[in-house]
Amino acid sequence: MARVGVFVCFCGANIADFIDVPAVVEEAKKVKEVKVSVLYKYMCSDPGQQMIRDAIIQNRLTSVVVAACSPRMHEKTFRKALSDAGMNPYLLEVANIREHSSWVHQKDKKAATEKANDLIRMAIAKSIANEQLHEISVPVTKRALVIGGGIAGIQAALDIADARIPVTLVEKSPSIGGRMAQLDETFPTLDCSQCILTPKMVDVASHPYIELIPYAEVIELDGYVGNYKAKIKKKASYVNFDTCTGCGACTQKCPVKVPNEFNMNIDKRKAIYTPFPQAVPNKPVIDAEHCTMLLKGKCGICAKVCEKGSIDYKMVDEVIEREIGAVVVATGYDLWDPKPYEEYGVGRYKDIITSLEFERMVSASGPTNGVPLRPSDGKVPKNVVFIKCIGSRDEAKGIEYCSKICCMYTAKHAILLHHKVHDSHAYIFYMDIRAAGKGYEEFVKRAQVETAATYLRGRVSKIYKKGDKLMVRGEDAQIGQVVEVEADLVVLATAVIAPHENPALARLLGISYDKYGYLSEAHPKLRPVETAKAGIFLAGCTQAPKDIPDTVAQASACAAKVCGLFAGDTLKKDPMISTISNEFCSGCLNCVKVCPYQAIVTEEIPLGHGSKELRTVAKINEGVCQGCGSCVAICRSMAISLAGFTDPQIINEIVAI
């Protein structure tokens, strides 16, 4: 026989003024299971809670109903009171007589009182069917996996590792550094990108808690928060990193030249190469698509010149496994290919380049030693036109969104151009100048005033050739005139886009991505670094375009999330999740289909008692289930029940009125 205690709160005057509380208390006593029914001014106060604790012990209660404010407010408080009295906290039910009655029926005390009676009766009935529940604890593997070795991945890995949590950092290219390594100077301070990045890269390589796996990709992720298992494919580098000293003899002697992707294909690298001089790890890899030894079996020069014998042409891809507890995804961004701008003659005119190509040219260590040159004739340009929003904010040819960083880097380019070629002039076609950030507007002003860059408000409509010049035509909307600029070089500020591998990666990780391919955060405002899948976090441009400060901030936020997750030895989880009865599950597996979290897995059990034949039934993965109840409502054989919202509980509530 159930023994229920009912505790009705006055909430000062909030409830008592509009509900006849003593009558409610008396009404509750009429239910035969109710052993004690009392009222108090503030149930949530210490004496109020003490009253509950005492009553539980004195009356040997089997469940407790508190009639007060919304359970969204104080459910946790009262649950704690129950456990303090040695009772299972989930035997509590809250009747919401404040938000649902006294506050909304202030003009009709009788009706509000009646409603309160019903709400309490329902809560009593439900509480009778309540079961003891226990917090689920999930073991946790304290190792984080960071995917991507750009500034976001580097920052996240360092911050996590500094908290003495082991990190595995996987980078797909031979060196970490990412896009930031390609930049010359950074806005708004114009400090050299390499100078601030390379120390961090070296830290990664030497950090005792970081395991760096370059030239590798994550190919599989199983499990759930705290208990993931990742498979990582290490691509064959054909160089034994353990013995290689990075002396560089092989790259010098290699006879095969290949366009250098690090320098945007402006110059050449060798078939055995390190992407750039400050690469980490500073060990070369062989590009299997171009190496004549690997393709045709001829050459072998690198092996001959290597004193350490580190070259191994027979090396194959290797798959390694790591057990991890959390994942930080930091795969960065790609740049949009401006080919659709046919009216500009993109692809036909060599002197139209992209911003990143310009960035490499003005970089002191770049292919042109820091001087921008016209690709067509190698001359130094005088008039340079920068066109913003190439692909950005262009539904017709590119993408709808603003790429966020182009306004700033174009201003930077104008300044850098002026630094490198003093008698040059920058013309910038823009639609809006978006300089929201610390020191950003001041930086744009610097471009406009100090370097006297000419800002023209309008989208360029046409570029055509006249002699060796490019004629750039656009409207200057400020004066309402169509203008043409005679340009030596045109630089297109191409849009930031999501890496094309993102959708495949998202499927592999079991997280969602938006229509552009950016990985989706759990909530756009309040959970910007989490994904819908617990234990997977996002850092940097893989979530949306952002500049370096924002990227670093988000990476550090990821690190904080990971450290928080790993703070205890186990992860605690709300026990209000589904369970499936093997006995009744008929194995139709429709629940697997509707579960939004892939929390339902299958299990083989004997067909009958002791029989050899097997049948498949569904099984809840406790670590993953979030307790929505979708599966419960579609389960025809009533094999699934959701703790806290079971069928008997809800029937009791319905019948109680």
Binding site: P255, V256, K257, K462
Partner: protein, 314 residues
């Protein structure tokens, strides 16, 4: 033998007789039987859609209805303006079946509109249905040495969602056809800039300024002549060229020929079939470049580049 329903357009019987004539010659060589739509009428370009709504749809629709009665389901149109009107109308009618039904029943007597005809410009027909390979195979007198600037005008490739043909900004189909004939198609930036056709009578100074710019850029490209696929473009660029030269003080001397004229020439028809005297700007000088064997340094460079692109061994 291929069959083709043919809509010549008003100018085929006037200003652009040479287009019509050479088109028929060329199509015969290419084994295409052209059947002119009986009792066709003006499509209304460019005035009907400027001034009216229903009539602008009804005029081309009548032609479509008449064409649907013929057995063949592909319609070829010589004039770019007519082509555009016909395509726009067909798209609009197909997207708004209620409107199509209303106009069909209240204005047009000739029968029911079904919308089952495929409308193509003659350039599109040559490029897509016949193909440069077949055209190349018919060439008996290649146009080697002739440099041409291919001018498409606004309406052959635009708007893209109406024409579904080639690029609206930098089309290449005519260039490829010209290359198939042996001529050299020059890089030309103003392929699809407007010549001002709809103002060719009412607002001639606009036409002169727009066409002047096109001629200037074509000259800059190094071409001997401009090749067109539209009668309005031809008359604007050709007939008004002396005036433009006078007003701007530049000398162009760029003859403007239809692509079919050059096809006819390459297929071996005698020059008199081209009706060259109809041209205001003399053609002979430009045609004399045919047969000039040009040193082609670019070709050598190209092969070297190709090698570079793959991988190069020192």
């Amino acid at each position: 033998m291929n069959k083709l329903t043919y809509f010549p357009g008003c100018s085929a019987h006037g200003t652009s007789e040479e287009f019509d004539h050479t088109l028929k010659l060329v199509m015969k060589t290419l084994d295409v039987q052209m059947e002119e739509i009986p009792d066709w009428n003006c499509c209304g370009a460019t005035s009907a859609h400027v001034m009216t709504e229903n009539l602008a749809l009804a005029l081309p629709m009548r032609n479509l209805v008449l064409a649907e009665k013929l057995e063949n389901k592909t319609m070829g149109i010589a004039c770019a303006s007519c082509y555009s009107r016909m395509k726009v109308t067909k798209k609009h009618l197909d997207e708004h079946p209620d409107l199509a039904h209303k106009i069909n029943t209240t204005i047009i007597d000739e029968g029911e509109y079904k919308g089952d005809i495929d409308v193509k410009s003659m350039l599109q027909y040559c490029f897509e249905e016949i193909g440069p390979e077949v055209i190349k195979s018919k060439v008996t007198k290649p146009l080697t040495g002739l440099k041409v600037a291919c001018y498409y005008g606004c309406l052959l490739t635009r708007p893209k969602d109406v024409t579904h043909f080639d690029s609206p900004e930098y089309p290449m189909s005519m260039d490829i056809l010209m290359e198939a004939l042996g001529a050299k198609a020059m890089e030309f930036d103003f392929k699809t800039e407007c010549c001002g056709a709809s103002f060719s009578i009412s607002n001639t100074d606009v036409v002169e300024s727009l066409s002047g710019k096109i001629l200037e850029v074509a000259k800059e490209s190094g071409a001997h002549m401009i090749v067109v696929a539209c009668p309005l473009c031809q008359s604007n660029l050709d007939m008004r060229q002396p005036d433009i030269e006078r007003h701007t003080g530049q000398k162009f001397a760029l003859p403007v020929m239809y692509f079919t004229q050059l096809m006819a020439l390459a297929f071996g028809f005698p020059e008199k079939e081209l009706k060259l005297p109809k041209h205001i700007v003399p053609v002979q000088e430009a045609l004399s470049h045919i047969g000039e064997i040009e040193p082609t340094p670019e070709k050598v460079k190209k092969t070297k580049k190709a090698v570079e692109a793959e991988s190069e061994v020192e």
